[in-house]
Subunit: 234 residues, 2 copies
DNA sequence: CGAATCACGAGAACTTGATTATCGTCCGTC
DNA sequence: GACGGACGATAATCAAGTTCTCGTGATTCG
């Protein structure tokens, strides 16, 4: 890759303004084609974990399912972890959008109510699907599983992926503080992580304590909210 | 050449004389011999993760280090996960004992103080080793990593392994409730998991939020305690 | 037009790590 | 002194990720 102009080839991702229009044509086709291919891999992976209670998938499976080749896969992704990261980012975006929507519709007037809705709804989304009802395509626990892998293996990347969710939470938190419902002496940065983490990985809590599973998702969520807001203290 | 006598070569580093003496000499029944072998595998694994910042080890390494054979390994362990489970159980026991000791010495008069000590000290133990000081053999973050693997892959076994820690926490919690410092309307079962989990996996919190690392272990621990006890509410 | 290039599919090959199988030896027992 | 079990050494197998090689159709460029 040494014989082309430095204008188009060097950037694959961000850098929106540039002089896109000028080279829109040639670049556009190449880019959309690439994006399309990437998306096909992502979709295939999503499909794989949606079906069955697949806890994991292999690169091979993704490749086959996507109708593309291993070669292409490694051309577009640096490795499986990049695919995971892609899935995860997308999942966080989706989840956050859905949360925002639910909060706008169900969240009450008060900022605390909106925060409450965030906690309860996010809790539910991270819960493993209860036996009985077929959910929509909500691969939430899968997301959680990946979150773990990514958080341990690639903390920096995952924190980038978490940004939308963290931002939403932070907005709600700030609003609730301004409204006087939440302590104003909090270090928001320092509090956001633990709160999101305790919700997201709530599944583990039950596993740690063994027989602590007897709450419905709704009750568990409300109980957690209670503790988060009021604390353990008398 | 790896055919030394098993008495001296197995333990190189620190001085967990453990049960070697007993075994080496008098009792040599089949059971103690077996336990000795199992223990050598465990020690070897512990050793491996103590040295370097090894995040993981292979079965081969453990086998070599322990001076035993692959065959024996699979004779005594159903697989790597059983070794992990063994390590984890032992680690929880050790950690719990150490916690109990610290609480007895540093914990104050009041039950809340003892609970406070639990939270703060356990927090520190689960923290990745700060650069600067050479710690004793406290493979805590490694423990945490394993906890994750086990919690996701073998929830039942891990909850069994957690029993000592959970019991200790529950005792302290109950005492604090009786003393009137902690809400009496709590479902202890339902609260223990989240609290332990948020302490143990605190590392993730920083990774989720990105730039939330600027607290010392002590400050982070106190901040978390504050939130746990007082909650977010105004 | 023809050659170079490229993107891509098909699939083999390589790598690491777990797990299993084979073989031979040592050691205590009968 | 033979037998059987425990054990070490080592090879074989299996799975999954990753890389490599070849071939082909399309595009480009001289």
């Amino acid at each position: 890759m040494s014989k082309e102009e430095p204008d188009t080839a060097a950037n694959g991702a961000d850098a929106p303004s540039w002089r896109e229009q000028a080279v829109a044509r040639s670049l556009d086709s190449a880019r959309t084609r690439a994006e399309n291919r990437v998306q096909r891999f992502l979709d295939a992976a999503l499909e794989l974990m949606a079906e069955g209670d697949r806890k994991d998938f292999t690169v091979q499976e993704v490749v086959e399912r996507s109708g593309q080749s291993l070669r292409s896969f490694y051309q577009y992704f640096g490795g499986k972890h990049e695919l995971l990261l892609g899935l995860f980012e997308e999942s966080v975006r989706t989840t956050t959008a859905q949360l925002a929507k639910r909060i706008d519709s169900k969240g009450g007037e008060e900022p605390v109510d909106r925060l409450h809705t965030f906690v309860v709804e996010y809790y539910k989304m991270c819960q493993p699907p209860r036996k009985g009802k077929g959910r929509e395509a909500l691969p939430s626990p899968i997301l959680v599983r990946f979150a773990l892998q990514l958080l341990t293996a690639h903390p920096a990347e995952s924190s980038r992926a978490f940004v939308p969710l963290v931002s939403l939470f932070d907005e709600l938190l700030l609003a609730a503080i301004d409204a006087g419902a939440i302590r104003s002496d909090l270090n928001r940065q320092a509090v956001t992580g633990p709160v999101l983490q305790v919700i997201m990985f709530n599944t583990f809590s039950s596993a740690i304590v063994d027989g602590a599973d007897d709450l419905s998702a709704q009750d568990g969520a409300e109980a957690l909210w209670d503790v988060v807001v009021n604390g353990l203290g008398a």
